[in-house]
Amino acid sequence: MSALKLQNISKSYGDVSVLSQVSISIDSGEFLVLLGPSGCGKSTLLHAIAGLHSPTSGDILIGGARMNDVPCQHRDIAMVFQSYALYPSMTVEQNIAFPLEMRKVPASQRKQAVADAARLLRIEHLLKRKPSQLSGGQRQRVAIGRALVRNPQLFLFDEPLSNLDALLRVEMRTELKKLHQRIGRTTVYVTHDQVEAMTLATRIAILNKGMLQQIGTPAEVYNKPANLFVAGFIGSPTINLLKGVGEIAGGSRVFRTIAAGHRSMKLPIPLGLDVKDGQALTLGLRPEVICLGAGGSGPGDVTAEVDVTLIEPTGPDSIIVFELGGRECMARVAAGDMIKCGPNTISFPAHKSMFFDSETEKLIG
């Protein structure tokens, strides 16, 4: 039985549609990340799951029971907010105990539960303080503690790390992952940060303009993006996308880039891809697929002469920028391999390329 099931969830405010026909089902213990640019409807979806507002249509099932008309305090969920939403007049201890108090848990049990949560999050020394006396990271822990203390069926996180500075964010990210591994609760986590999504999720659901684009494991959405939006949204630096056309004649299946005023580049289309002659295609190349130097001489390797115009060192490796097929492209190379801009040879194996239909924007094969 799935822990959470969303069936055709739609939400609109008047004529403005925020979510349309979103269906997601997740199993017990999963860590689902709702990922998308701002305004894609991911927070709206989370709030609908929480019961803070109701969807215009569609069903929400938690643990198999329909929750549409159940008020949020009876949904057996806990939520961590972007702003932490700690109660300013209460101490940390009172904050964490609040959900138990509201559910009339006896004081002795409450104390024990708060102590357990505090130990898990290493905030025992902060229990007597007020939220205003805490740093951002500490507030974050208290907010998680308040969610943790009740052992809910479902954890909801609404961009919990986006108010933290970069270093702390990475640290808390790791802690969240450890926490999930330790307690294994079903979690739905909203973020616009694809690195957070990739590192934390067991599965990622990518939303754009209120529509579900793809749902899959981090490896799936990275290696087999369902469409151009997902391909472009996941991965940093972003995927190189080259426009072109498929040419099928006799035994030869070739993709040729089209860009006005530029020499076209050809590469073989892998077998098994259903491509028609003259079909408008978009080639997707991850930056790390491209290597410096000439490739092998086989038909599966593509070599091109390019002019590198920019090098961005990132430490372990460098991002080089060059023009290919009429587009500015990026490749990730080892830090020492490229020191000066200028003409160079690059290559990539054709089987690591992805092909999208330029019209439907969907992945082929």
Binding site: H47, L52, P71, C72, S83, A85, F98, P99, M102
Partner: protein, 294 residues
């Protein structure tokens, strides 16, 4: 908190403009403090001294007899008991009226901002109408309603009017504070299982203390100083002190006892003055609440 001084210019032009600012401020202060000084000085002089001296002359012998007379023995019409009875009336009116209108405004403001419902904006718009409505145009309907309720010419009737008339103001105060309270706070509390009243009492109320102070000061001052409703809907023994003051000073016959009149004015104004002096800093803080971080 220490406040660092801002850097001021030191050229002739800068100094001259600063002098102008100070002169303007001093002039404004004199305009406001002058009359108060006259009232205060006159109220502690004997009647002979009032007649003999000038307005701003310091008293030769300070006497509190006029204050005593104003409070206990000055005649208002035929009863010569001073303002004491009506002074008590004013407290009997202002305390319940403030204690009822402020919490009602708090709940209204809370519901209208953090627990919004369909049409809540309209409710707020109608409530605001009460703020801008001149009382004069509803005096006759109010009289009719009070008559129907059997509360005409009574203090409870006056309390009822002040509570109802105060709700738009108190609601406005609390609403303007509550819009600065993050909605997430209420969402979090709801997810945690708190009800409407639990959220109100446990989460929202503790952070709204400055608003309570502001609302209380405002209501206390306005209700205490009210003359229109009081003079329309009460008389004689049920009147609050503002009406009694008018009767004592304005309707008296015979020798004008200026010193007693001034003492009566001071006595009438004293409660609101004290409220301002002791709670004024909360007033400023409350009006500014939420305008800045921290």
């Amino acid at each position: 908190m220490t406040i660092d001084r801002i850097v001021l210019g030191s050229t002739i032009g800068h100094r001259f403009s600063r002098l102008l600012v100070y002169l303007t401020l001093i002039l404004a202060a004199v305009v406001y403090i002058g009359p108060l000084l006259v009232v205060l000085l006159t109220s502690v002089k004997s009647l002979d001294e009032v007649r003999a001296g000038t307005l701003l002359q310091l008293p030769h012998a300070v006497t509190f007899a006029p204050w005593k007379a104003a409070l206990l023995s000055q005649c208002i019409g035929v009863s010569c008991t001073g303002l004491s009875h009506q002074f008590v009336n004013s407290f009997a009116m202002v305390i319940p009226a403030v204690l009822l209108s402020t919490p009602l405004g708090a709940v209204n403001g809370y519901a209208l901002t953090l627990w919004t419902f369909k049409g809540s904006d309209w409710v707020y718009a109608f409530l605001l109408f009460g703020v801008f409505m001149p009382l004069q145009i509803v005096l006759i309907p109010l009289a009719h309603v009070l008559g129907l309720l059997g509360l005409a010419n009574t203090l409870p009737g006056l309390v009822l009017l002040h509570v109802i008339y105060g709700i738009p103001f108190t609601t406005l105060f609390f609403r303007n504070f509550f819009v600065t309270v993050p909605r997430d706070l209420v969402s979090a509390a709801r997810v945690d299982g708190a009800s409407f009243w639990q959220v109100f009492f446990r989460i929202v109320l503790p952070v709204a203390i400055p608003s309570f102070v502001v609302s209380t000061i405002w209501q206390f001052t306005n209700i205490w100083n009210d003359f229109l409703l009081a003079s329309t809907f009460t008389d004689g023994q049920s009147a609050p002190v503002t009406v009694a003051l008018y009767d004592m000073v304005g309707a008296a016959t015979g020798v004008k006892t200026y010193n007693v009149d001034m003492a009566a004015v001071m006595l009438t104004a004293l409660p609101t003055l004290l409220v301002y002096i002791f709670a004024g800093r909360y007033f400023i803080r409350g009006l500014m609440a939420g305008s800045m971080k921290g």
